[in-house]
Symmetry: none
Subunit: 282 residues, 2 copies
Amino acid sequence: MAFEMTFDGINKSGPKIILVAPQLDQNLGKVARAMLNFGLWDLRLVSPQCDWLSKSARALSAGADGVLEQAKVYPSLEEATADLGYVLATTVRPRDMIKEVYTPRQALVASQEAIDRGQGIGYVFGPEKCGLDNRDIALCNAIVTVPLNPAFSSLNLAQAVVIMAYEWYQTQGGSSSETSPVSKPKLSDTDPLATKEEIHGLVIHLDDELKKAGYYRTAHKRPLMLQNLSNLFHRFSMTRQEVRTLRGVVSTLVNPHGIYSRMTRRRAEKAGADPKKEKDTP
Amino acid sequence: MAFEMTFDGINKSGPKIILVAPQLDQNLGKVARAMLNFGLWDLRLVSPQCDWLSKSARALSAGADGVLEQAKVYPSLEEATADLGYVLATTVRPRDMIKEVYTPRQALVASQEAIDRGQGIGYVFGPEKCGLDNRDIALCNAIVTVPLNPAFSSLNLAQAVVIMAYEWYQTQGGSSSETSPVSKPKLSDTDPLATKEEIHGLVIHLDDELKKAGYYRTAHKRPLMLQNLSNLFHRFSMTRQEVRTLRGVVSTLVNPHGIYSRMTRRRAEKAGADPKKEKDTP
């Protein structure tokens, strides 16, 4: 019912709202309401810690039940963002990480390249109590922070969603734009940005080869070292072709002159992959 | 206490938030929180229908009790706005009245003249259930309407305040330009951005290893392939440490478990380089 009632106002190309381990069902209701207020529909929940279809969540959605009912649940942020081209981590705290930090308005400019290519974008929000951890932030292209009174800067989850959704809606012709986003220098149209899944693929490929090569001197060092590498590759906006190029580079370095090519190919064929695909040249 | 704690972040020339006949104490708590989030302090209540100092209002203010405690109560909107130079009525419904209707962003431009003259401005919000009546709207200079999904346009009072306060705060130098990030990737003093020379070093290192590994199938393909790789790494803003990390990755991949380490070291020592330096971990 809610779906039919509200479907008209929905913009399917709007940002996906991704909540990592949300804790309070009331907040989910308010988030759904805020999303629908600004024509957003795609809600993604990573390991939710509460019932997003509870009576209380539905009541606070104030008629946006449809958003809650359509919400998709994922076991990890990797999976929740796999199909997206550009993903922003929302956080109020400065992090000791090498990432661009944008205001909500700037974030839309930064997302424009992916939007122009018809690729999905996502805003990731952390658990109410602690926010996103560094591992999750490392999977995002950049950070978006709502400028707040530094003396009082705790923003409620639903209100953070309101602001992000509101800013996005401003660019949808709903209001006269004083701030039409400047689009970035364009890469060729036939060469789309890599999806998060493709970047994950590169990081996993590299991790796998580094493990075999003894890069991680001790097991306990691996998580941080891997996070640093992950942060590096997710931060760069790479095209699909560039990801393939880097995978080809890694494959060549570990297998010079295709010495192990027959063995590798047999292993890969068993696993259903096509090893030639990974060796694309730049 | 709350006053002292938060006074630093307050901008006394910010818009006054004027609530006409608010009905729910929880909303008052949330409004106070939203105000303080964006450095607003002056809350005015016209004939409040609930207790703005209730336990529930205080709890939902999340520490912005000071705003509730300082709130002034007025018997009419005329009195609540008497000292102000420019007043905007917030409403989501188009009214049968001859008044300018602004978006929140445009409203700030419209208010600027009063602000420039050192006069106070105010945003007026109506009761939760019915909004402002025409008599109240007639007392205001103009109308401000948050652009919303026409199919789902009921905005919670606190969220309307969030948006108005947020837009105002954007003009306060809290955020800088609309296109360049608030903060470039945060780098500690000991971890500067790599110089072009260091990026060249990485590219040459990689080129060297790729040549040895037979990556460039034919010699004439090399210039373009190398140019693509070079373009990739120069486009990314990497720190010096990240360049070292990537060089460590390349070194490890071509020399798993340091199998050739003695040979490499001897070669490197001949060339005047310290191969250990290249194996820095991330």
